[in-house]
């Protein structure tokens, strides 16, 4: 190649390289973390949760647990009961607009816990995901927020059975029982 033409090409090559770099650094395309068929799963509590809680506030909630989650291991370690959900466990919580149940209403949001200890975005072994139903967008909450509050599930708290003995509940407030 003629060197002058090569040097004229150089800026283009550099630009292309920069563009490629920028592309590769950009956020990856949103991934579908939450299975679509969750409504057919087991529910840890048959009850619709219609009282306000901090974190999910005054929205009616309904919780589902996938097959893997049913194999939760409950052992005792150094005098403390320890719950361990196997990898692959998915807990989906539907969040509805109001506290009152309305016929045919669809949730506007899912808050989801996915057991994936090796994921770099995981905290406490769980991926904390929010799915906005209108846009379908899923966001992984990799900062303290969800995790900080859910750490309270491992000590006595005011919900469900209230965990009076401070069992390690693997960050789950309403544990699954067969």
């Amino acid at each position: 190649m003629n060197p002058r033409r090569a040097s004229a090409l150089l800026p283009h090559v550099a630009l292309a390289a920069v563009a490629l770099l920028a592309l590769s650094c950009a956020r990856p395309a949103p991934r579908a973390l939450v299975p679509a068929d969750y409504a057919s799963w087991e529910r840890p509590t048959e009850r619709d949760l219609d009282y306000p809680v901090p974190g999910h506030e005054d929205h009616r909630r309904r919780i589902y647990l996938n097959q893997s989650g049913e194999d939760v291991r409950i052992t005792e370690r150094q005098g403390r009961v320890v719950h361990e959900y196997p990898e692959g466990t998915v807990i989906v919580k539907e969040v509805y607009a109001g506290l009152q149940f309305r016929q045919g209403e669809a949730p506007f949001q899912l808050t989801v816990m996915i057991k994936k200890p090796k994921d770099p975005l995981a905290r406490g072994g769980w991926l904390w995901v929010v799915r906005d139903m209108a846009s379908g967008q899923e966001t992984v909450i990799d900062y303290e927020f969800c995790f900080d509050c859910h750490a309270n599930a491992n000590e006595p708290h005011p919900y469900g059975d209230k965990n009076p003995r401070g069992e390690f509940r693997d960050y789950v407030f309403l544990p699954y029982r067969k």
Binding site: P52, V53, P54, G55, E57, D58, E144, F145, C149, P158
Partner: protein
Amino acid sequence: MRRFVPLARKVNFILVSSLALGIGAAIVYLAYAQNRDLRRANAENLQRQSEILYQSIKNAMLPGEAPVAVRLFADIRQATGTFEVSLYRADGVEAFSDNRTIETVNANLERIYFRAKPLLMSDARMIAADMNFTRAVQERRTVLYQQAEGERSYALIYKTLLNLPKCAGCHGSTHTVRGVIHIRSDVTREAVQQRNNLLLAAAIFAVLVPLLAVLLARFLQVTLVRPVRHLGEVCAGVRGGDFSVRARIGSRDEIGALGERVNEMVQGLYERFQLSKFVSGSTLQSIRNRERGAKASMTLFFSDVRSFTAYAERHPPEQVVEALNRLLNVQTEIIHRNGGDVDKFVGDAVVAVFSGERREENACRSALEIQEELGRAAGYDGLKVGIGLDSGEVILGLVGSEKRADFTVIGDHVNVAARLCAAARPGMVLVTESVYSPLRARVKARGPAHLKVKGKTEALAVYQILALPGGPA
């Protein structure tokens, strides 16, 4: 035509630019990395500090000991001087500035659990308009940022305080964010250090690059530029005819080797130049023209030193060579002066050719002059030559192998001239009829005598030339 750009300038340009780029990149990166690490360390520090505060507030809040927290903040401010901590409610009002929370808690618990306290602060602040605060509340995440106020620089953090399940009992369940911890840390010293890092990097750059550039340029000047220029001067000298110039390059590298090569070349040129003094002009001409052979009418001159072998045996070799060189030199000089070409030297013999219209006359005159010179002048150790001349058609051409070829004359007449030369006594010039007859009218000669020549049935008519009156043509 392209402009002449001195090597030194190109080399300097490359040097300075690559140094500037290389060192510049390294220094910029170092300074950047150092400042980044400093910033990162600052941020991490702040995170950790806010975490510690968060934990202590969480535990101080539980028993409802707000005044403890307020005192803690004040103490921290006082103790460190560079560190300011405050706590805001989610609505942006500074916490503990009024009894509103206590009232809400009592209402939630449906009894007077906490007694309203005298106001703990007189200068309650509002920061709802702060964008970073709003972000911390809405996105429920820690926000870190930097701020400059006049001369001072601050690192700041907003850390959200969640309404944890254990808080919800008193504070109610309708909200998620209870408040925001705000820490302002004076990082003026670190900022100054960052700036100093940059200044230092720039200073190092400003000193190092020119220094290295000068050193490297100097090195290249000595090892490359100067020798190349010197070689140029040598070549210019040779071109001007001075063969005594020699490249003086001491270095043992490619340039040194090139210098030696040039010296060998100059030596070779010198030798060839010396040779050309003896070798005929037509030889050189034809070496240039690469003539491949031609026929021409010429007069052949053949001289050879009498009793040279005996002389050589009696004298030391240096003296022999010196005497012979003198003899050949004087003959060459006389032949050239009379328009002849020396075709070659064969030991002590000279073969020369004369061409052109007056070739016989010129050849005879050369022969007579040579004999006269050798007869008269001392310094030839009494050595004498015999000379034979013959005229006629000869073949001229490059003869030899591909590696080494000489331009020479070939033909019967060469042999005849040689035969006459052999027959001539010291100081004698013998010629054939073909040389004699064109000059018959003017030349003083003796003869003819008859000479038997190998390969010829008839004896040759031979004349001895004595004098050729009349000046040179």
